[in-house]
Amino acid sequence: LRIKGNSMESKIRFILIQNRAGKTRLAKWYMQFDDDEKQKLIEEVHAVVTVRDAKHTNFVEFRNFKIIYRRYAGLYFCICVDVTDNNLAYLEAIHNFVEVLNEYFHNVCELDLVFNFYKVYTVVDEMFLAGEIRETSQTKVLKQLLMLQSLE
């Protein structure tokens, strides 16, 4: 009987949002990396993901992990997980997250993520925590975000 993945690591190793030029719009780390390693990972992910086209899968092997990614206009949303993790579940987790951002920022665009970077972290923490999926209901997340928005 095999057990999936390594139970003592978080499932999601990091979440990255990058544009085509390689500028990072969000980097959320769930594993300890030092700053140099982070920079290297960001560059590697960009190199791996941007060469792929629409006919390719949304999954790509990456070191000992895999990247599940989806492109929205000029932005790549990437989640790094264990090779044994469920590809489609994370692919849709990305989409679910994007739909929340879209609703929250009313037709989200790249600039919203730049100017409101500190709010994007709040959205992430509502939906993903400790490298795990925390909440999947868009209604619940948006209600909570709206409540926080109203606070001073």
């Binding site: 590809n87 970077f117 709040t122 925590l129």
Partner: protein, 956 residues
């Protein structure tokens, strides 16, 4: 809902971000940033106290600057101050700053723990969540120490808000992962498991991640989660697509929760309770049925969510591997996906089918898709999909289809992407060997492999074909003929020349009867390749030439001519020159008999694990090749080579690394120093390039004789110990786990001292029987439950006799050999049974490795049975130096600076047995406060982990 405007709330921040974006150059950006940093610094240092808003704004600007990639060395105190604000927005920025920057300044953690404590007890759910998220994001040990006790309380308290529960569950998970010793679930276990029943689906979604992790570590304590998970799953699966409202995603009810539930179930064997099992099977059938229903939406989100559940369900079905009906249904479903227009689905179907292929129930069903998979290998655009197709072909291969699959893989190799060629070559080589019914096919396949992808044929592959040809009489003639033909090609790969040189040098005589391949033709053919080859190949060819002189005396003058030429005898390469000189001399002075002895056919190779398989394992990590497959491969390989018996006396050969362990044909391979046993020397001879080296002639003759005269070590460890002796005496042996010498036994009459030494998988024990009395012991006999040399039958009063026992570790073991001692003292017969202190750890070779390697290997050994863990009370004082000495005595390497916690000890070593080498890693975590230890051992073999853990738990 109000739109969020740019930089809403903090105009200064928005202006600053705009400025940065408008900078035309990197220099301009740096200038602007420095200006801002100076401004912020002066505000923070200014006389005027800043209000909360300004503090928040400046801290947020600093954070932005940090995220742009600049170092920030101030502002931490201001961020900490924000934590105690009563305003959410200020607190949030403070926490965010800390979460993002904490890596670079861990001093901060102590400062913020107090603020976190206040927020946790504030009863304000928003503040509690902020604090919990901060702990979850930082997850440091200091935080675990401060909050691991508090968070379970928050998680299970009746009045905790749902959103706080969600955060608390995952926060606890993070702390458990960083500091499992500090998170004690004990009393909370049952209430945590029952979160699976929570009304709020979000709480279940979060809590199940925690439960899954805890279940993997403590399956027994959490096993009640199985029935709860099944009923939860059953409720979701049977609900209509709109029942779950907020948790329905594109008409799919709770897809992520379903996946998590299915994954939790994969921590356990199938439920024993018939009703639960029935309900679960029903769920799995429903999921499979739904895959056949027409989609409720054309959106890809709908099918993705639905298929996420389907694939997870199939994983569970494969995990159980006990429901033939479900396995075959799963296989059929995946078969449909193989032709789906979505690349993602084709990829996942190939991947998932790979695991189905290893189940006896679905192997045949998988095989029916062979044509589709071959087609995928040929036509898929995405290389990763082609790679999966190749993996699947490899997995579905058996005797019935091996020829077809190998042929397809070979033809794919001609155009395969460079990135996957080497792996493909290994796979072809393994399949060819594993399923070779006739060896001519095997030889053809490998030679084709060299022809098509010579550059990617690693040494392991061509060593292997030579090993097999040497060990199989019936294929030698064919191999010689085929390789002779292959060498006719004008441009043949250097690896072909190597194989050709070796095989013709050994077996060229088998085809020499045909005038088209007469000795001289063979020689000329080989020699025509000589000048295009690298030095190691040339060295090998020179050895082939001297072998020719022995096989075919008629070629002697031609070959001597070649050896004598300046380009050989004065070659600038020392190795080539030396060979030319030595071989020339050998061929001129040695008599035919001596020549025939020195250059006789190579003896068969001892069988070990297929080197190629080992290589593939190394390439893909241990998870990639299942244990079954390996064992099967080994067994088959054993057959192929005529079993181990032909290996004869060479069983004493032991080599430290698998790559050096083959033919060892690498030229200039450094002769390993020391190791004065005959076995090791023999290896050195093998590791010389080519065959036998004139310079080593004497050595070889010495070895050949010496090898036969050395006492064969007594192979007793494989014999099960009998269970006659009294327990107290048996347990004495445990004192010798971490040391080799000392007094094994003592009473009023007799003292038995022991000295032991171990190297690789061999050991020698000296037993000293001391007579403490003044009277003779007569008819003194010792019997081991395995054989040993007899000891002197008489021990004079006050005298001592010695007995030597040679040991070879054949395989891992847990029962030590028993030693029975009988003698007469005065008139009375004395009878004593002792357990010899031979424990598995004695055969450790220490392995030094860096932190990174250690953790990588640790992760690779992640199957549950590979790990053994014990938590036990200290029975001696917890002195670091004593612990170190004991761990060193254990035989493993004690690794410094590997464990992030300096209190912990980690060790690494490889157990050397004749059957295999078992890599083991150990971690010992002392908890001085509780006077407890936690010991974790991981090794590639489950019985070893278990045994080591048992042995060691008694030592501290």
């Amino acid at each position: 809902m109000p739109a969020v405007s740019k930089g809403d709330g903090m105009r200064g921040l928005a202006v600053f971000i705009s400025d940065i974006r408008n900078c035309k150059s990197k220099e301009a950006e740096i200038k602007r940033i420095n200006k801002e940093l100076a401004n912020i610094r002066s505000k923070f240092k200014g006389d005027k106290a800043l209000d909360g808003y300004s503090k928040k704004k400046y801290v947020c600007k600093l954070l932005f600057i940090f995220l742009l990639g600049h170092d920030i060395d101030f502002g931490h105190m201001e961020a900490v101050n924000l934590l105690s604000s009563n305003k959410y927005t200020e607190k949030q920025i403070g926490y965010l700053f800390i979460s993002v920057l904490v890596n670079s300044n861990s001093e901060l953690i102590r400062l913020i723990n107090n603020a976190i404590k206040n927020d946790l007890s504030s009863r304000n759910p928003t503040f509690m969540c902020l604090a919990l998220h901060c702990i979850a994001n930082v997850g440091s040990r200091e935080m675990a120490e401060a909050f691991a006790g508090e968070i379970p309380r928050i998680l299970v308290a009746g009045d905790t808000m749902d959103s706080v529960k969600q955060s608390a569950a995952l926060c606890l998970l993070r702390l458990y992962k960083t500091s499992p010793d500090l998170v004690l679930m004990g009393e909370w276990t049952s209430r945590v498991v029952h979160l699976l029943n929570d009304q709020h689906m979000g709480v279940v979604t979060a809590a199940i991640s925690l439960i899954t992790c805890l279940s993997q570590k403590n399956p027994d304590e959490f096993k009640t989660c199985v029935s709860l998970a099944v009923s939860r799953l059953s409720r979701i699966v049977s609900s209509a697509s709109t029942d779950l409202q907020d948790y329905t995603y594109y008409f799919v009810p709770a897809p992520w929760l379903s996946c998590k539930l299915l994954r939790l179930l994969q921590c356990y064997p199938p439920p024993e309770d018939g009703a639960v099992k029935g309900r679960l099977v029903e769920c799995l059938e429903t999921i499979l049925n739904k895959a056949q229903e027409p989609p409720k939406s054309k959106k890809v989100q709908h099918s993705n969510a639905k298929n996420a559940i389907l694939f997870e369900a199939i994983s569970l079905i494969i995990h159980y591997d006990s429901e033939p009906n479900l396995l075959v249904r799963a296989c059929n479903q995946l078969g449909q996906f193989l032709q789906h227009r979505e690349t993602n689905l084709r990829y996942l179907a190939l991947e998932s089918m790979c695991t189905l292929a290893s189940s006896e129930f679905s192997h045949e069903a998988v095989k029916t898709h062979i044509e589709t998979v071959i087609n995928a290998l040929k036509t898929e655009r995405d290389v990763s999909v082609r790679q999966r197709a190749a993996d699947l072909l490899y997995a579905m291969c058996d005797r019935s289809n091996a020829k077809q699959i190998v042929a397809e893989m070979l033809s794919y190799l001609e155009t395969a992407d460079y990135s996957i060629r080497e792996e493909m070559v290994l796979k072809v080589a393994i399949l060819a060997e594993k399923y070779a019914v006739d060896y001519s096919w095997y030889v053809d396949t490998i030679l084709n492999l060299i022809r098509i992808a010579g550059d990617y044929v690693s040494e392991e592959v061509w060593y292997r074909v030579i090993q097999i040809v040497i060990n199989r009489d019936d294929v030698q003639g064919y191999a010689a003929k085929t390789v002779f033909e292959a060498l006719q090609a004008p441009a043949c790969h250097e690896n072909m020349v190597k194989v050709g040189g070796y095989i013709l040098g050994e077996f060229g005589n088998l085809i020499a009867g045909d005038p088209r391949s007469s000795p001289l033709v063979q020689f000329n053919l080989l020699h025509s390749k000589f000048h295009l080859c690298s030095v190691p190949t040339r060295a090998l060819l020179l050895s082939a030439y001297i072998k020719f002189i022995n096989l075919f005396p008629e070629t002697k003058s031609t070959i001597q001519e070649v050896l004598r030429s300046d380009s050989q005898i004065r070659n600038s390469d020392v190795e080539l020159q030396q060979r030319a000189v030595e071989y020339l001399k050998l061929s001129s002075i040695a008599s035919t008999d001596v020549l025939a002895t020195v250059l006789e056919e190579m003896p068969p190779f001892p069988e070990r694990e297929s080197s190629i398989l080992a290589k593939l394992k190394k390439k893909k990590g241990p998870g990639a090749v299942s244990v079954n497959e390996l064992e099967e491969g080994k067994r088959e390989a054993g057959e192929l080579n005529g079993g181990g018996e032909r290996g004869g006396d060479s069983s004493a050969i032991s080599t430290p690394s698998p790559s050096a362990d083959l033919l060892g044909l690498r030229a200039g391979h450094p002769v390993t120093a020391a190791a004065p046993s005959a076995g090791s020397l023999l290896v050195d001879v093998f590791s010389e390039t080519g065959f036998i080296h004139y310079g080593r002639l004497m050595l070889l003759i010495f070895l050949r004789t010496h090898e036969r005269t050395i006492t064969k070590p007594v192979p007793f460890l494989a014999v099960p110990a009998c269970l006659s002796a009294s327990h107290t005496l048996l347990s004495l042996a445990l004192r010798f786990v971490c040391k080799n010498n000392g007094v094994l036994f003592e009473n009023q009459l007799l003292q038995i001292g022991i000295k032991s030494e171990y190297r690789q998988n061999l050991g020698r024990i000296y037993l000293f029987y001391g007579n403490k009395t003044s009277v003779q012991f007569v008819t003194f006999t010792t019997t081991l439950n395995v054989q040993s040399k007899p000891v002197e039958p008489l021990i004079e009063g006050g005298a001592q006799v010695q007995q030597v026992i040679n040991i070879e570790c054949l395989t891992d073991f847990s029962d030590a050999p028993l030693l029975n001692i009988k003698f007469r003292y005065g008139g009375a017969l004395q009878n004593l049974t002792l357990k010899l202190p031979v424990t598995i750890n004695k055969f450790f070779q220490p392995t030094e490795m860096a932190s990174h390697d250690f953790f990588q290997r640790w992760k690779q050994l992640s199957q549950p049975q590979q790990e053994a863990q014990k938590i036990f009370k200290a029975s001696h004082a917890m002195d670091t130096e004593v612990l170190k000495a004991k761990l060193l005595g254990l035989g493993m390497a004690l690794l410094e600076n590997v464990d992030p916690n300096p209190e912990n000890f980690v060790c690494a070593g490889v157990i050397q047995s004749k059957a295999q080498q078992v890599g083991s890693l150990l971690r010992l975590e002392p908890n001085a406060q509780a006077q407890m230890y936690r010991l974790t051992v991981r090794s590639s073999k489950d019985t070893v982990s278990k045994r080591l853990c048992e042995l060691l738990a008694e030592q501290f």
